[in-house]
Amino acid sequence: MTVTRRAFLRGTGRAALGLTVGFRFDLSGFAAAAAAPEFAPNAFIRIGSDNVVRLWAIRSEMGQGVRTLLPMVLADELEADWEKVVIEQAQMGARFKGIRLRTSGSGSAAGTWAPLRKAAATAREMLISAAADQWQVDTSTCRAQSSTVVHVPSGRKLTYGQLATAASKVSVPAKPRLKDVKDFRLVGKPVKRRDALAIVSGSAVYGLDVKLPGTLHAVIARCPYLGGRLVSCDPTPALKISGVKNIIPVRSGFSGGVAVVATNTWAALKGRDALQPVWDKGPNAGFDSEKFMSDLEQSLSQPGFAIRRSGNAQTALAESPVKLEAIYEYPYQAHAPLETMNCTADVRAGSCDIWVPTQAPEASQQEAAKLLGISPDAVQVNVTMLGGGFGRRLQVDYVLEAVEISKAIGKPVQVLWTRDDDMKHGFFQSPKIEQVQAGIDASGKPVAWLHKSCGPDLSVLGLPTEQERKNPNFYSDDGMPWGLFDNPYNFPHHAGDFVPVQSPVPTGPWRAVMYPSTVFARESFLDEIAHASKVDPIELRLRLLAPGDVLDLKSQKINRARLMAVLRLVSEKSRWTSPLQQETGRLWGRGVACNVYSEDCYIAQVAEVSVRKALSDIKVHRIVSAVDCGFALNPLGIEGQTESAIAWGISATLGGKIHFKNGQAQERSFADFKVLRMDQSPLVETHILQGSEMPGGFGETAVPPVAPAIANAIFAATGKRIRRLPITAEKMQNASAVSSTAKESFSG
């Protein structure tokens, strides 16, 4: 059990970029083999004498547009013709050894920006040198553009293809000159997805679309009880199903079980239905998630780890004339990507090929090698398109199952998880109870802030080891919990604490990781303070961020001025102070929330909601976001990620959650795990402040503010404060009106 550290999630991507000698053809079948490449300056770029420029994406495409974004950076710096470049997927093997392929923590843009630019600039300078040599002119008189080198005075031209052979013999420049930002043709401009045509024509290859000759299909009957195990299973009924070949026990995934291997998927599914495995229910057969949440609330009295300390928060709270306190709840959530977990594996003597939609090619390779007792170099991991990742595909449980089965049967196998498997056997978003207290002075200013977060940590079972526990700074050194550690506001007396509590439910990174619960509590509670103090909620935040200085948390620096700027922009763009549309029979309200994602992305959101007067429904009409993620590499991508993250946030705010009863997850499909659909989808507006700083990662930034912005808007509309997600009509009806005067105290 190891804690997934922030550093591990974020990564740096500073891979060494030496010249790669030799070339390994992909075995993947979906990256068409090219003519022998002539110019191979590094792992990311190949230029053939046929003038085809091929660029490798070194992250997994799961909807965030990374197979467009990273090649865009390469193509721009290389001066390659964007319309003609061929984009390939980097695969875990000899070619990319030592280069990070893992996709997590919204780190793809920031982590690859510098190395990709350097790699492409190196190649560009080598091509220019080759041309200058051929023309016997100075390189300064040559210019690269659109996959061609031009000798400016004479107008002579050579294509990259014509230069490929010569360029491969040019010495590698130690310090290639990077393009000036103002000269970018693609970067910083709205660029559409390069995979779009393949996706809309149905030819994009996801995990289950990998077809190898002779592949068998498998599904697994998994132990439904958390921590339970297989006792016995009579294979006879399943073997009677036409097409079923093998019934074998599987131990390598998180929850073991019995695999049914068949010649086609339907036979495997019917075989699984026919099995009646006997399970040992294990130690958690009584586990109930509702009870776990109330146990977590009891754990608030435990000391936990000190995360933030300034002034003397307890004393200041005791001495404050006005004290506020609230408890917030964030439940278990599933990732439920539309493509369920799946993996195709072909284990042969001494080697293994894997085709898998994964965010974690390195871990897939290492763990598969360990399972097989072979060298990682003998395991080729081919990353397909991912039908959604959201953190679930950082786990390798579903990879190892396929490897184990293929080894057992000696044939290639494709393991399919059904939707039911996917709902019940996830690595769920860990639930939290968050307690926040504030002491407010006579002028209405919050002077003391105490935030305690309680729940499983980021490791699979949610607890630090004995050794880790001995370090009082174990979490704070890593900036955990996110959103509590990097609380951007300025309080004279500030205490932040984290109490890790073990859960038998496997948990893991989920979109925005640790931010959703802490930011829900923090930003909701600020709204409560604003109403109690009769201060406008945006104004309150601006006061707490003044004078816009840099908050130095050692491992992170929070630029408060940037957060103030997005708050002001969202206020303007949402027309915060203007009267809201009114409609007979409905109550309308606006709510605001903001956050800093991992020190480099700043976001403020305003939600507009309406609620039927009988409190029988909730409709989110519009969400306006103002964002500053530094240098916005692809504004179109940032808009898309904002829309996507908001949909994600709404699903968790107004949709379903995962219940555990009798040690089993109860939800089975999208019928009982409710996610956002089109009819409830609001108008989303995104306003980008283009910054000159480094690019920040944007895949998750817009998730955390959604829940508090909506909850705050519901309060503005109804006077009902909902502190436990998801928000339902029933909870609104049962909530007491917090303050009858609150609604009049501010606009919106």
Binding site: Q64, L197, V200, G640, S644, W648
Partner: protein, 158 residues
């Protein structure tokens, strides 16, 4: 196992399968038409949407034994080059994110436009809300359908 003759994308296909095999798995496992996706297997996500005599249906809910005499179109048959007005509108509006739900979305939208050449937002929402997009591309899908509607020649019934 019995043999069935199926009309798929204008071609007659013969497959041998158990009678209760869902069309989805025939398409994917036997015919290697993998644009039709598995999302839930219980008809609540829309990822496996195909056309049955021009109407949108869920391939996971149709047993092969009831599929004879009907004409099916999959995403590959809509236009393999991606030239259907919905496909071009999807590309122009930069709709797709992970893209896994989009073949199903496009098949639903194409069937809708066949019936209602100029649907309102409410009509679009009503039909498209039977589908799940976990990436939340709904706003762009709605826009793409309007764009496709403004330009769509009547799709030939297949």
């Amino acid at each position: 196992m019995p043999q069935y003759s199926l009309h798929i994308n204008g071609k007659l296909q013969k497959v041998i399968a158990e009678p209760d095999t869902p069309l989805l798995w025939i398409l994917r496992d036997e015919l290697e038409l993998c644009g039709t996706k598995y999302g839930c297997g219980v008809g609540v996500c829309g990822a496996c949407t195909v056309h049955e005599n021009g109407a949108a249906v869920r391939a996971c809910q149709i047993a092969i034994s009831s599929a004879a005499d009907k004409r099916f179109t999959t995403i590959e048959g809509l236009s393999s080059a991606g030239e259907h007005p919905c496909q071009t509108a999807w590309v122009e509006q930069d709709v797709a994110q992970c893209g896994f739900c989009q073949p199903g979305m496009i098949m639903e939208a194409a069937a809708l436009l066949n019936r209602r050449p100029n649907p309102s937002d409410t009509e679009i929402d009503e039909v498209m809300s039977q589908h799940v997009c976990r990436c939340g591309t709904y706003q762009r899908i709605r826009k793409a359908i309007h764009h496709a509607a403004n330009r769509a020649p009547e799709e030939k019934s297949t």
